[in-house]
């Protein structure tokens, strides 16, 4: 059974239809990539799945429960972890404390167990040396890493990653891919929005293309990237 399924989900901002009758499923442990031009509605789709934005129509089911009307708090506790495209750190808290909040509240863990989990995640995401730094003082790239680490600290069954690879050097990108593969190896399902295509295609099992709020296609990456419509719209290649 699917861990996440969207059934005819729609959302408009005023006259602008940002999510247009989108339906798809994610299997437990699956890695799904999402691509699409700027403003296609990718981040909005995440916000609908996490409950930060309410749907206009359609239903969202997570882990066998209809979560359409649930708060973001309830959904993260149920196992939907997320990163924000524009990093949203708790600026006065340390990097470690950013994770501790997530582990305590979203992950429902306490005491030594939570502390150790946070330390492990910091090491896995290359933030170990910055554990006690105030997160407000981090650079943009470090903040993006913190987004990933904090989402991991909620112990999700499904993790939503929104453009975390932009601006990385080749070496950093390889390290990020390793981290994401290790999350995948734990059995966590992943949906990853990314403009850095080579990073995305090295991990994902399926790829979805969004355009003007509509799901254009979904399937194996090679097949999707070969679709004429995708080549034209996403890559701007004339066919």
């Amino acid at each position: 059974m699917a861990i996440l399924s969207l059934n005819s989900v729609s959302k408009s901002f005023g006259a602008l239809k940002v999510t247009d009758d989108v339906s798809f499923e994610v299997a437990p442990g699956e890695v799904l990539g999402i691509i699409g031009p700027n403003g296609a509605g990718k981040s909005t789709l995440f916000n609908l799945i996490t409950g930060n934005i309410r749907t206009d129509a359609g239903t969202i089911t997570f882990d066998g429960t209809d979560v359409t009307g649930q708060s973001p708090m309830a959904r993260v506790k149920a196992g939907i972890g997320r990163s924000f495209q524009i990093p949203q750190p708790f600026t006065h808290l340390s990097v470690y404390e950013n994770l501790l909040v997530a582990a305590n509240f979203g992950g429902g863990q306490g005491g030594r167990e939570a502390e150790q989990l946070c330390v492990d995640i910091l090491d896995r995401t290359g933030l170990g040396d910055l554990a006690e730094a105030t997160s407000g003082s981090l650079s943009l790239l470090q903040r993006k890493r913190l987004e990933l680490a904090r989402a991991m600290a909620t112990s999700p069954k499904l993790i939503l990653l929104d453009e975390i690879a932009g601006g990385l050097t080749d070496g950093e990108c390889v390290a990020l891919i390793e981290t994401i593969k290790s999350i995948h190896a734990q059995g966590t399902a992943i949906i990853w929005i990314e403009h850095v295509l080579h990073a995305l295609t090295s991990v994902v099992e399926r790829l979805m293309v969004l355009n003007f709020g509509k799901m254009l296609t979904i399937g194996a990456p090679e097949v999707v990237m070969d679709t004429p419509a995708v080549r034209e719209i996403y890559l701007g290649i004339e066919v």
Partner: protein, 353 residues
């Protein structure tokens, strides 16, 4: 930093011990003054947690001071209980009242929330002014002798060899000191707890806090009720010491909210030591400027505005920024996996030998 916290605890204990011993050598006037300072401190610490940490800028704390005071008077006059129990009942009544007030005001944001709390306090004041058994609009006094018969007064009278009235003052003073210590300790433990971490996350970024599972309404409600409890207990104690209550005095927005905000803001809102610094400065200013009448309030206001413009985090924030000294730090540190072995000095590599 570690060094600071190591000397901070003994120093704090010494200060508390010195304060506890004041009745053995200080005059009654000093004890009454210190009582005022300590009770204002308790109100300021409660408001600081509310506004500085939970972002709930209430200007209706007089609702809880007044309710605490009136519930205590009702329990003593109508119920015949010992005033010390009356204080407990006062706190419970204020906490109970905070629930409906929260249900009403939590629907409002920012300035509207502030106005909502003030309106709620006015409604409670007007309602209690109708209570004829407690003197209606003119208020009432505790029956003669109530405070002398209060639990603990006679032993204190014998111990210190003072009058009944002075012994009652000493008891109130010790209770105020205990309340201040309890409030500070509870605030620290609360802010260091899971809930406190959640509050700090909300203060930094509401949307992100919700996305990692922190429920803002729930945490804010807990803080609102707890601070009403503390404020109600303090209100009951303050009016027990005065032995007389009127709706205007018990629900004074100037005394129980405006001054309290002033104290917290000049001391350092959102910092734990802030209210302590603030109340000391406030007391000194009050002493220095008391002879100037209305001018005193104007000067107080100007001072407050200057602090708000030039030191957003108050005098304590200014001090921390300049010195790097932090008392009562709230930081959670990661568990250390590899601790350096103590006692072995780091190797010094000499060059050119």
């Amino acid at each position: 930093m570690n060094h600071n916290s190591k000397i901070a605890l003994p120093v704090a204990l010494a200060i508390v011990a010195a304060l506890a011993l004041v009745p053995f050598y200080g005059s009654r006037a000093i004890i009454q003054d210190l009582f005022t300072v300590l009770t204002l401190l308790v109100l300021a610490m409660n408001w600081n947690i509310l506004a500085g940490f939970a972002g709930l800028v209430s200007v209706g704390q007089q609702a809880f001071v007044g309710t605490g005071a009136y519930a205590m008077f009702a329990a003593v006059i109508l119920g015949g209980v010992d005033p010390l129990w009356g204080i407990v009942i006062g706190g419970a009544a204020a906490a109970a009242l905070s629930v409906p007030i929260a249900i009403f005001t939590f629907r409002l944001n920012g300035a509207y929330f502030a106005i909502g709390t003030w309106v709620s306090a006015e409604i409670v004041r007007l309602s209690l002014a109708q209570w004829k058994a407690l003197g209606g609009g003119t208020g009432t006094s505790l029956p003669k002798g109530t405070t002398q018969e209060m639990f603990g007064v006679q032993p204190i009278r014998h111990l210190l060899g003072i009058s009944n009235a002075a012994a009652a003052d000493v008891l109130s003073y010790w209770l105020a000191l205990a309340l201040a210590v309890a409030t500070l300790s509870a605030s620290y433990l609360f802010l260091r707890s899971r809930a406190g971490l959640g509050l700090q996350a909300i203060r930094d970024n509401l949307e992100a806090a919700r996305s990692v599972g922190v429920d803002p309404a729930r945490l804010k409600a807990i803080v609102f009720v707890l601070s009403a409890l503390g404020t109600g207990v303090c209100g009951a104690l303050m009016f027990l010491q005065i032995t007389r209550v009127t709706p205007d005095a018990a629900f004074s927005v100037v005394d129980w909210t405006a001054f309290v905000i002033f104290i917290t803001v000049i001391g350092g809102i959102g910092t734990l030591p802030g209210p302590i610094v603030g109340v000391l400065v406030f007391y000194v200013l009050q002493r220095l400027l008391a002879d100037y009448g209305t001018l005193y309030l104007i000067l107080l206001g100007l001072f407050g505005i200057a602090i708000m413009l030039f030191a957003r985090r108050g005098l304590w924030g200014l001090f921390t920024d300049k010195t790097g000294i932090e008392l009562l730090p709230l930081r959670h540190r990661p568990p250390r996996t590899a601790t350096p072995v103590p006692g072995i000095p780091p190797k010094i590599v000499k060059e050119g030998t």
